[in-house]
Amino acid sequence: MLAVVFSLLLTVYLIVPEAIFRTIFGYFIPPRNFVLTRTETAYRAVLVTILPFSLALTASWYAPIVRNWPFPLRENTITVRRSDYKTVVGAMYSDKKFDDTQSQFWPALTRCIRRQGRLALWYFFLVGLEAGLLGWAAANYSRLRNIRAYKWFADRVLFKFISEWHPLLTPYLNFLPGTVVQADVLCTNDVLYQGVVSEYFLQDGKLTGIILHKPRRFERQLYLEAKKDAQKASTAAPDRKQYWVTIPSENLYFFPDKIVNMNLTYLSPPGATADLQVLQDLLKEVLSRSTLDLDRLTVSIPRGPRKK
Protein backbone atom coordinates (compact mmCIF):
# COMPACT_ATOMS: atom_id res chain seq x y z
CA MET A 1 0.00 0.00 0.00
CA LEU A 2 2.81 2.37 0.92
CA ALA A 3 4.43 1.72 -2.50
CA VAL A 4 1.20 2.78 -4.23
CA VAL A 5 1.05 5.95 -2.13
CA PHE A 6 4.71 6.64 -2.86
CA SER A 7 4.09 6.27 -6.63
CA LEU A 8 1.10 8.60 -6.33
CA LEU A 9 3.13 11.20 -4.44
CA LEU A 10 5.96 10.91 -6.99
CA THR A 11 3.47 11.56 -9.78
CA VAL A 12 1.83 14.50 -8.02
CA TYR A 13 4.98 16.14 -6.73
CA LEU A 14 7.51 15.43 -9.49
CA ILE A 15 6.03 14.21 -12.77
CA VAL A 16 2.95 16.47 -12.98
CA PRO A 17 4.85 19.68 -12.01
CA GLU A 18 7.56 18.86 -14.53
CA ALA A 19 4.88 18.46 -17.21
CA ILE A 20 3.28 21.77 -16.16
CA PHE A 21 6.69 23.41 -16.33
CA ARG A 22 7.37 22.03 -19.81
CA THR A 23 3.97 23.13 -21.13
CA ILE A 24 4.13 26.69 -19.82
CA PHE A 25 7.83 27.12 -20.64
CA GLY A 26 6.94 25.83 -24.09
CA TYR A 27 4.65 28.81 -24.71
CA PHE A 28 7.77 30.98 -24.77
CA ILE A 29 10.32 28.63 -26.35
CA PRO A 30 8.36 26.33 -28.70
CA PRO A 31 7.90 22.87 -27.12
CA ARG A 32 9.56 21.06 -30.00
CA ASN A 33 12.68 23.04 -29.21
CA PHE A 34 12.44 22.48 -25.50
CA VAL A 35 14.08 19.15 -24.92
CA LEU A 36 14.83 17.09 -21.88
CA THR A 37 16.44 13.75 -22.53
CA ARG A 38 15.18 10.83 -20.46
CA THR A 39 18.36 10.56 -18.41
CA GLU A 40 18.18 14.22 -17.49
CA THR A 41 14.48 14.28 -16.70
CA ALA A 42 14.66 13.36 -13.01
CA TYR A 43 17.47 15.80 -12.30
CA ARG A 44 15.74 18.60 -14.19
CA ALA A 45 12.43 17.81 -12.49
CA VAL A 46 14.03 18.24 -9.08
CA LEU A 47 15.77 21.41 -10.25
CA VAL A 48 12.55 23.04 -11.45
CA THR A 49 10.41 21.91 -8.53
CA ILE A 50 12.61 22.45 -5.50
CA LEU A 51 11.97 26.18 -5.17
CA PRO A 52 8.19 26.16 -5.79
CA PHE A 53 7.80 23.12 -3.52
CA SER A 54 9.70 24.76 -0.67
CA LEU A 55 7.68 27.94 -1.05
CA ALA A 56 4.36 26.12 -1.29
CA LEU A 57 5.16 23.97 1.74
CA THR A 58 6.23 26.94 3.86
CA ALA A 59 3.22 29.00 2.75
CA SER A 60 0.77 26.17 3.41
CA TRP A 61 2.06 26.00 6.97
CA TYR A 62 2.44 29.66 7.82
CA ALA A 63 0.98 32.09 5.22
CA PRO A 64 -2.43 33.51 6.34
CA ILE A 65 -4.57 32.71 3.28
CA VAL A 66 -2.62 29.78 1.87
CA ARG A 67 -2.70 27.75 5.09
CA ASN A 68 -6.50 27.50 4.97
CA TRP A 69 -7.56 27.94 1.37
CA PRO A 70 -8.69 26.01 -0.59
CA PHE A 71 -10.03 22.97 1.31
CA PRO A 72 -10.17 24.57 4.78
CA LEU A 73 -9.96 22.42 7.93
CA ARG A 74 -11.53 23.16 11.32
CA GLU A 75 -8.48 21.95 13.16
CA ASN A 76 -5.17 22.48 11.48
CA THR A 77 -2.64 22.78 14.27
CA ILE A 78 0.81 21.22 14.07
CA THR A 79 -0.19 18.61 16.65
CA VAL A 80 -3.31 17.54 14.72
CA ARG A 81 -1.36 17.48 11.47
CA ARG A 82 1.36 15.22 12.92
CA SER A 83 -1.16 12.96 14.55
CA ASP A 84 -3.15 12.59 11.29
CA TYR A 85 -0.09 11.64 9.24
CA LYS A 86 1.06 9.24 11.96
CA THR A 87 -2.34 7.52 11.96
CA VAL A 88 -2.53 7.30 8.16
CA VAL A 89 1.04 6.06 7.58
CA GLY A 90 0.79 3.59 10.46
CA ALA A 91 -2.49 2.13 9.18
CA MET A 92 -1.11 1.83 5.67
CA TYR A 93 1.99 0.07 6.95
CA SER A 94 0.27 -2.53 9.11
CA ASP A 95 -3.12 -4.20 8.90
CA LYS A 96 -3.20 -4.60 12.66
CA LYS A 97 -2.66 -0.88 13.13
CA PHE A 98 -5.40 -0.22 10.60
CA ASP A 99 -7.84 -2.42 12.55
CA ASP A 100 -6.88 -0.71 15.82
CA THR A 101 -7.26 2.83 14.52
CA GLN A 102 -10.05 2.41 11.98
CA SER A 103 -12.34 4.95 13.65
CA GLN A 104 -9.58 7.61 13.55
CA PHE A 105 -8.12 6.55 10.20
CA TRP A 106 -10.84 7.75 7.81
CA PRO A 107 -11.26 11.27 9.28
CA ALA A 108 -7.44 11.57 9.44
CA LEU A 109 -7.10 10.42 5.83
CA THR A 110 -9.70 12.97 4.70
CA ARG A 111 -7.82 15.76 6.47
CA CYS A 112 -4.49 14.58 4.97
CA ILE A 113 -5.99 14.53 1.48
CA ARG A 114 -7.37 18.05 1.94
CA ARG A 115 -3.97 19.28 3.16
CA GLN A 116 -2.14 17.55 0.33
CA GLY A 117 -4.65 18.87 -2.20
CA ARG A 118 -4.14 22.42 -0.96
CA LEU A 119 -0.38 22.04 -0.99
CA ALA A 120 -0.43 20.50 -4.48
CA LEU A 121 -2.60 23.27 -5.92
CA TRP A 122 -0.36 26.06 -4.61
CA TYR A 123 2.67 24.06 -5.67
CA PHE A 124 1.33 23.71 -9.24
CA PHE A 125 0.50 27.41 -9.31
CA LEU A 126 4.06 28.31 -8.24
CA VAL A 127 5.59 25.87 -10.74
CA GLY A 128 3.49 27.52 -13.47
CA LEU A 129 4.59 30.96 -12.33
CA GLU A 130 8.23 29.87 -12.31
CA ALA A 131 7.89 28.33 -15.78
CA GLY A 132 6.31 31.53 -17.10
CA LEU A 133 9.08 33.71 -15.68
CA LEU A 134 11.89 31.43 -16.86
CA GLY A 135 10.24 30.98 -20.26
CA TRP A 136 9.93 34.72 -20.71
CA ALA A 137 13.56 35.18 -19.62
CA ALA A 138 14.77 32.43 -21.99
CA ALA A 139 12.82 33.81 -24.94
CA ASN A 140 14.22 37.30 -24.39
CA TYR A 141 17.88 36.32 -24.31
CA SER A 142 18.85 38.70 -27.10
CA ARG A 143 17.28 41.65 -25.26
CA LEU A 144 18.57 40.84 -21.78
CA ARG A 145 22.00 39.35 -22.49
CA ASN A 146 23.80 42.59 -21.64
CA ILE A 147 22.71 42.34 -18.03
CA ARG A 148 25.60 40.57 -16.34
CA ALA A 149 23.48 38.80 -13.70
CA TYR A 150 21.03 37.61 -16.36
CA LYS A 151 23.87 36.26 -18.53
CA TRP A 152 25.24 34.34 -15.57
CA PHE A 153 21.80 32.93 -14.80
CA ALA A 154 21.15 32.08 -18.46
CA ASP A 155 24.47 30.23 -18.76
CA ARG A 156 23.94 28.17 -15.64
CA VAL A 157 20.19 27.67 -15.45
CA LEU A 158 18.11 28.75 -18.44
CA PHE A 159 20.16 27.07 -21.13
CA LYS A 160 19.69 23.71 -19.43
CA PHE A 161 16.09 23.81 -20.63
CA ILE A 162 16.68 24.72 -24.25
CA SER A 163 17.88 22.42 -26.98
CA GLU A 164 21.23 23.38 -28.50
CA TRP A 165 19.52 23.22 -31.91
CA HIS A 166 17.33 26.21 -31.09
CA PRO A 167 20.02 28.94 -31.20
CA LEU A 168 21.74 27.13 -34.07
CA LEU A 169 18.73 26.83 -36.37
CA THR A 170 16.72 29.93 -35.50
CA PRO A 171 17.65 33.61 -35.22
CA TYR A 172 17.17 33.17 -31.45
CA LEU A 173 20.09 35.46 -30.72
CA ASN A 174 18.41 37.96 -33.05
CA PHE A 175 21.54 39.98 -33.78
CA LEU A 176 19.42 42.30 -35.87
CA PRO A 177 15.65 42.14 -36.42
CA GLY A 178 14.93 40.32 -39.68
CA THR A 179 17.95 38.00 -39.46
CA VAL A 180 17.42 34.61 -41.15
CA VAL A 181 19.38 31.38 -40.90
CA GLN A 182 20.72 30.10 -44.20
CA ALA A 183 21.88 26.48 -44.34
CA ASP A 184 24.20 24.87 -46.88
CA VAL A 185 23.42 21.17 -46.56
CA LEU A 186 25.79 18.60 -48.03
CA CYS A 187 23.97 15.31 -48.51
CA THR A 188 25.29 11.76 -48.65
CA ASN A 189 24.73 11.73 -52.45
CA ASP A 190 27.38 14.50 -52.63
CA VAL A 191 24.84 17.16 -53.60
CA LEU A 192 24.94 20.54 -51.94
CA TYR A 193 21.66 22.28 -51.18
CA GLN A 194 21.06 25.77 -49.86
CA GLY A 195 18.02 27.47 -48.37
CA VAL A 196 16.60 29.34 -45.42
CA VAL A 197 15.80 27.18 -42.40
CA SER A 198 12.04 27.36 -41.93
CA GLU A 199 11.30 24.39 -39.68
CA TYR A 200 13.15 21.66 -37.86
CA PHE A 201 12.06 18.65 -35.87
CA LEU A 202 13.53 17.06 -32.75
CA GLN A 203 12.95 13.86 -30.87
CA ASP A 204 14.64 13.37 -27.51
CA GLY A 205 17.01 16.20 -28.37
CA LYS A 206 18.09 14.71 -31.71
CA LEU A 207 17.42 16.33 -35.04
CA THR A 208 14.90 14.26 -36.98
CA GLY A 209 14.28 16.56 -39.92
CA ILE A 210 14.81 20.00 -41.33
CA ILE A 211 12.90 22.03 -43.92
CA LEU A 212 14.66 24.58 -46.12
CA HIS A 213 12.60 27.36 -47.64
CA LYS A 214 13.29 28.46 -51.26
CA PRO A 215 15.87 25.72 -51.76
CA ARG A 216 18.47 25.57 -54.51
CA ARG A 217 21.00 22.97 -55.59
CA PHE A 218 24.64 23.45 -56.52
CA GLU A 219 25.62 21.77 -59.81
CA ARG A 220 28.97 20.66 -58.51
CA GLN A 221 29.77 18.27 -61.35
CA LEU A 222 29.12 20.91 -64.01
CA TYR A 223 31.09 23.45 -62.01
CA LEU A 224 34.09 21.11 -61.68
CA GLU A 225 34.03 20.38 -65.40
CA ALA A 226 33.83 24.08 -66.25
CA LYS A 227 36.67 24.73 -63.84
CA LYS A 228 38.79 22.06 -65.49
CA ASP A 229 38.02 23.47 -68.96
CA ALA A 230 38.93 26.96 -67.77
CA GLN A 231 42.24 25.68 -66.41
CA LYS A 232 43.02 23.95 -69.71
CA ALA A 233 42.14 27.08 -71.69
CA SER A 234 43.97 29.28 -69.16
CA THR A 235 40.89 31.46 -68.75
CA ALA A 236 39.25 32.83 -65.63
CA ALA A 237 37.63 30.31 -63.28
CA PRO A 238 33.85 30.00 -63.67
CA ASP A 239 31.59 32.01 -61.40
CA ARG A 240 30.24 29.73 -58.66
CA LYS A 241 27.02 31.72 -58.43
CA GLN A 242 26.08 30.62 -61.95
CA TYR A 243 25.89 26.99 -60.83
CA TRP A 244 23.16 27.37 -58.24
CA VAL A 245 19.90 25.99 -59.65
CA THR A 246 16.60 26.93 -58.06
CA ILE A 247 14.52 23.91 -57.09
CA PRO A 248 10.86 24.30 -58.14
CA SER A 249 9.57 23.88 -54.61
CA GLU A 250 8.83 26.26 -51.77
CA ASN A 251 10.12 23.91 -49.10
CA LEU A 252 12.49 20.97 -49.14
CA TYR A 253 12.57 18.38 -46.36
CA PHE A 254 15.81 16.68 -45.34
CA PHE A 255 16.18 13.48 -43.37
CA PRO A 256 19.09 13.83 -40.95
CA ASP A 257 20.64 10.48 -41.89
CA LYS A 258 21.17 11.88 -45.40
CA ILE A 259 23.03 14.96 -44.18
CA VAL A 260 26.85 14.85 -44.09
CA ASN A 261 27.34 18.39 -42.79
CA MET A 262 25.60 21.70 -42.53
CA ASN A 263 27.06 25.18 -42.91
CA LEU A 264 24.94 27.77 -41.09
CA THR A 265 25.02 31.48 -41.88
CA TYR A 266 23.03 34.13 -40.03
CA LEU A 267 22.04 36.59 -42.73
CA SER A 268 21.43 40.10 -41.53
CA PRO A 269 18.64 42.03 -43.23
CA PRO A 270 19.67 44.11 -46.27
CA GLY A 271 21.37 47.37 -45.30
CA ALA A 272 22.42 46.17 -41.85
CA THR A 273 26.14 46.12 -41.10
CA ALA A 274 26.67 44.42 -37.74
CA ASP A 275 25.17 43.94 -34.33
CA LEU A 276 26.72 46.80 -32.41
CA GLN A 277 26.63 45.04 -29.06
CA VAL A 278 28.47 41.99 -30.41
CA LEU A 279 30.99 44.25 -32.13
CA GLN A 280 31.47 46.28 -28.97
CA ASP A 281 32.15 43.09 -27.00
CA LEU A 282 34.72 41.98 -29.59
CA LEU A 283 36.49 45.35 -29.47
CA LYS A 284 36.61 45.27 -25.67
CA GLU A 285 38.16 41.82 -25.84
CA VAL A 286 40.71 42.75 -28.51
CA LEU A 287 41.67 46.03 -26.80
CA SER A 288 41.63 44.61 -23.27
CA ARG A 289 45.40 44.94 -22.91
CA SER A 290 45.43 48.62 -23.86
CA THR A 291 45.25 51.35 -21.23
CA LEU A 292 41.96 52.66 -22.64
CA ASP A 293 38.89 53.07 -20.43
CA LEU A 294 36.83 50.44 -22.24
CA ASP A 295 33.71 51.17 -20.21
CA ARG A 296 33.45 54.35 -22.26
CA LEU A 297 33.82 52.58 -25.60
CA THR A 298 30.90 53.01 -28.00
CA VAL A 299 30.32 51.88 -31.56
CA SER A 300 28.06 53.46 -34.17
CA ILE A 301 27.36 53.07 -37.87
CA PRO A 302 27.38 56.53 -39.48
CA ARG A 303 27.09 55.03 -42.97
CA GLY A 304 25.57 51.76 -44.16
CA PRO A 305 26.63 49.82 -47.26
CA ARG A 306 26.14 51.36 -50.71
CA LYS A 307 23.10 50.03 -52.56
CA LYS A 308 24.13 47.97 -55.57
Binding site: D155, I162, A274, V286, L287
Partner: protein, 62 residues
Protein backbone atom coordinates in the same frame (compact mmCIF):
# COMPACT_ATOMS: atom_id res chain seq x y z
CA UNK B 1 26.48 16.80 -23.96
CA UNK B 2 30.08 17.67 -24.77
CA UNK B 3 29.60 21.38 -25.09
CA UNK B 4 27.21 23.72 -23.35
CA UNK B 5 24.61 25.92 -24.93
CA UNK B 6 26.36 29.04 -23.65
CA UNK B 7 29.46 28.05 -25.63
CA UNK B 8 27.35 27.57 -28.74
CA UNK B 9 25.74 30.96 -28.17
CA UNK B 10 29.16 32.54 -27.76
CA UNK B 11 30.36 30.84 -30.96
CA UNK B 12 27.35 32.08 -32.92
CA UNK B 13 27.75 35.60 -31.54
CA UNK B 14 31.38 35.66 -32.66
CA UNK B 15 30.29 34.62 -36.12
CA UNK B 16 27.77 37.45 -36.27
CA UNK B 17 30.46 39.98 -37.08
CA UNK B 18 31.15 40.52 -40.80
CA UNK B 19 34.47 39.06 -41.94
CA UNK B 20 35.87 42.45 -43.06
CA UNK B 21 35.19 43.97 -39.63
CA UNK B 22 36.84 41.06 -37.85
CA UNK B 23 39.85 41.20 -40.17
CA UNK B 24 40.33 44.95 -39.73
CA UNK B 25 39.90 44.82 -35.96
CA UNK B 26 42.45 42.03 -35.52
CA UNK B 27 45.04 43.27 -38.02
CA UNK B 28 44.86 46.93 -36.92
CA UNK B 29 44.38 46.56 -33.18
CA UNK B 30 47.53 48.56 -32.30
CA UNK B 31 46.52 51.30 -34.71
CA UNK B 32 42.97 51.35 -33.38
CA UNK B 33 44.17 51.57 -29.77
CA UNK B 34 46.56 54.41 -30.62
CA UNK B 35 43.90 56.35 -32.58
CA UNK B 36 41.43 55.99 -29.73
CA UNK B 37 44.02 57.24 -27.24
CA UNK B 38 44.99 60.23 -29.38
CA UNK B 39 41.77 61.24 -31.15
CA UNK B 40 39.11 59.35 -29.22
CA UNK B 41 37.75 57.76 -32.38
CA UNK B 42 38.57 55.35 -35.21
CA UNK B 43 36.56 54.48 -38.31
CA UNK B 44 36.43 51.08 -39.96
CA UNK B 45 35.52 51.21 -43.65
CA UNK B 46 33.91 48.23 -45.36
CA UNK B 47 34.08 46.94 -48.93
CA UNK B 48 30.72 48.51 -49.78
CA UNK B 49 31.51 51.92 -48.35
CA UNK B 50 29.92 51.22 -44.98
CA UNK B 51 31.51 52.87 -41.99
CA UNK B 52 31.67 51.84 -38.37
CA UNK B 53 32.86 54.43 -35.92
CA UNK B 54 34.52 53.42 -32.65
CA UNK B 55 34.69 56.07 -29.95
CA UNK B 56 36.10 56.21 -26.46
CA UNK B 57 34.76 59.13 -24.49
CA UNK B 58 37.32 60.80 -22.29
CA UNK B 59 36.59 60.85 -18.58
CA UNK B 60 35.44 64.24 -17.34
CA UNK B 61 37.68 65.55 -14.58
CA UNK B 62 35.85 66.01 -11.30
Amino acid sequence: MVTTLSKIVEMIERGAIPAWVREQVFSNKEEIAQALRENGSYTLTGPNGEEIEIRVEKAVAA
